[in-house]
């Protein structure tokens, strides 16, 4: 790729992001502004912002990379990423908005009372948020390395620095505008190069699918997932979305329950539109970037295909456009996560002040950066899938049972979340430590959702049954609050 053009594209995206954020500073003045943009964001803006926030490095780079690596099985990832929002719409969107809570720990406290559930939820939100930022930074490191030969720490450090400045200056309101802008930037930065690539291939009479050879078995870097693996993956992606903290905090910016639902419907549409492009790039990549898996850089498929097909200045320009979109996705997801993690930390440790929020922001930028520098990754979609399994086994049962089951108690919620976190965390660590485990154990550890999610639900229900709930009257009040329409 052309280094000067690439750096210019990255600089442009970073500058635009910072500019919008600093403009947002003028209208962002109170703690409410910082956290929830005063709940005045319209569904279209909000849906674009959710899309912008959600489409991370795993979607922008990882989906195409995984298609090159694993072929047809990789198609389950974007399906799961999108269908997760259907589950969110069905079970969570409107009640969560009506709960009136700022963050997930607030929800735990409103529903269950007492500090224990709040503290456990807060700790999990922070862990999930930090773990989810790490793959974004790996993506940034890879992108800057491919584009400009920069060392790994440069990309990760750049993204965290811009995010830190953006969040510090504007909080949630400006983040909403930034995110909405970035969704459309991401769509355009994949759609335009794709059109040019297909036009060029058409004019030269080259089949984009190599006459169907692109759909053959993969370059054998990765075996298929198997039936258990596929079902466990679907479960993790469907339910994991419910617990993603940066997604949940977005719902508080809707004015009421029905608008939260409308927003979610729009999000499902926007995501469906977006994923057509990475999938198409993945199929192209199986012909035009088939050498990348061997080099361990399959995730760079989207970045390299335009230059390889078009060549010359056109290829450089379009490659730079894709790179800009990739940086938009690192920035938007990371800043969304930083806002929600910082929100939780500042309420838990700093009494929710603006200054506390700023200290927490710096903290939640630094820790994942250190984690990212200390670890490596060569399949972004896979590492994000692990985070989904973790949230599906911890925060998802809390939300589903908390919203729909009157019998949930504080002790039950804590026990279920701790069990899910320990089981899923141990399994994932085992899978990372011993990658060569034989099939049954290996799959159970690397795709644990199919057994850790039911386990967490079972413990949550069992312990709740065995302990005393709050008074009936308190539960009646909370349930009415969550489920009755506003007017």
């Amino acid at each position: 790729m052309n280094t000067a053009l690439s750096l210019a594209a990255i600089a442009a995206v970073c500058a635009a992001t910072a500019l919008i954020a600093i403009n947002g500073l003028r209208i962002s003045r109170t703690t409410d502004d910082f956290y929830v943009a005063s709940r005045t964001v319209r569904p279209w803006w909000n849906a674009s912002a959710i899309g912008g926030e959600y489409l991370s490095a795993a979607s922008f780079l990882g989906v195409a990379g995984l298609i090159v690596l694993a072929g047809q099985d990789a198609l389950w990832f974007p399906i799961g990423y999108t269908a997760g929002y259907l589950m969110l719409l069905l079970f969570v969107a409107a009640p969560l908005r009506r709960s009136g809570a700022y963050t997930l720990p607030d929800f735990a406290q409103i529903r269950l009372g007492g500090r224990a559930a709040r503290t456990a939820t807060g700790a999990l939100v922070v862990v999930v948020g930090w773990l989810y930022i790490v793959p974004q930074l790996h993506g940034a490191a890879l992108a800057l390395e491919i584009a400009a030969g920069a060392p790994g720490w440069a990309g990760a450090g750049l993204v965290m620095a811009v995010v830190c400045v953006t969040v510090l200056s504007g909080g949630m309101r400006s983040i909403t505008f930034v995110q909405a802008f970035q969704y459309w930037l991401k769509v355009v930065s994949l759609a335009v190069p794709l059109v040019f690539v297909l036009l060029r291939l058409g004019s030269e009479g080259i089949s984009p699918t190599a006459d169907g050879a692109a759909f053959g078995p993969g370059p054998a870097m990765m075996t298929g997932f198997g039936l258990y693996g596929t079902i466990s993956l679907i479960l993790a992606l469907l339910l994991g979305t419910l617990g993603l903290p940066h997604v949940l905090v977005r719902f508080y910016t809707n004015p009421d329950g029905p608008s939260a639902r409308r927003t979610t419907v729009l999000v499902v549409g926007l995501l469906s539109l977006f994923y057509l492009f990475p999938i198409a790039f993945g199929i192209l990549g199986r012909t035009f970037a088939a050498d990348l898996p061997g080099a361990g850089t399959a995730d760079a498929t989207v970045l390299l295909v335009p230059a390889r097909v078009l060549g010359g200045t056109a290829g450089d320009l379009l490659g730079a456009l894709v790179l800009g979109g990739a940086f938009a996705s690192f920035l938007s997801t990371s800043s969304g996560l930083v806002v929600s993690v910082a929100g939780v930390i500042s309420q838990g440790l700093f009494h929710g002040t603006v200054r506390g929020f700023r200290i927490a922001t710096v903290l939640s930028c630094t820790v994942p950066l250190l984690l990212a520098l200390a670890s490596g990754s060569n399949a972004l979609a896979g590492s994000v899938g692990a985070v989904f399994a973790f949230t599906a086994s911890t925060l998802c049962p809390l939300l589903l049972l908390g919203i729909w089951w009157r019998g949930l108690t504080s002790a039950g919620a804590v026990a279920g979340m701790v069990t899910g976190a320990l089981a899923c965390g141990t399994a994932l660590l085992c899978a990372a430590a011993f990658p060569q485990l034989p099939p049954p154990a290996g799959e159970l550890f690397s795709r644990p959702a199919a057994w850790t999610v039911p386990l967490a639900f079972a413990v949550m229900v069992g312990v709740s049954r065995a302990t005393r709930a709050r008074g009936e009257e308190a539960i009646d009040r909370v349930m009415a609050r969550l489920h009755t329409p506003e007017r």
Binding site: R29, L75, W76, I79, T82, L89, L349, T484, P485
Partner: protein, 150 residues
Amino acid sequence: MTGGEDGPAPADPTPPGPHPPRPLPQQGFTPTDSETPVPPPRVRVTAPAGALPPPRTRAPDPAANFYVRSLVRSQLRLAVSVALGFVVVLVGMALLLALWPDIHGLRLFTVPLPWIALGIGVYPLLVVTAVLFNRAAARNEARYREIARQ
């Protein structure tokens, strides 16, 4: 850490101490009626850490609770049946692909059928399901509102 403790909060009551409270500035000095619009001052507002926002509902009465419970049940029934239907479709597709290898031979414009189904076909299904659910959920709420008003 005590990050929020320094600097007096505007809303703080006067700290107890030997000094009398400072005299308020004279009326005429307040710059409230200047011509240029002044942005609202930056305030330190503490989030309601722990405090439940005031309940929106009236005092609990048995009849109201009964209606709420039936609303919750009908919304849950709707959500679970839509979710189950969708999961059955997804798992069915996974089973079909795993148990019927010949399907990979069926192609449309060089693209195998499983790639079309998984790469494109699922998404319209998702959007339609979402739109239909949203309507049904809003209908449930409208029915509740009608009953609750009586």
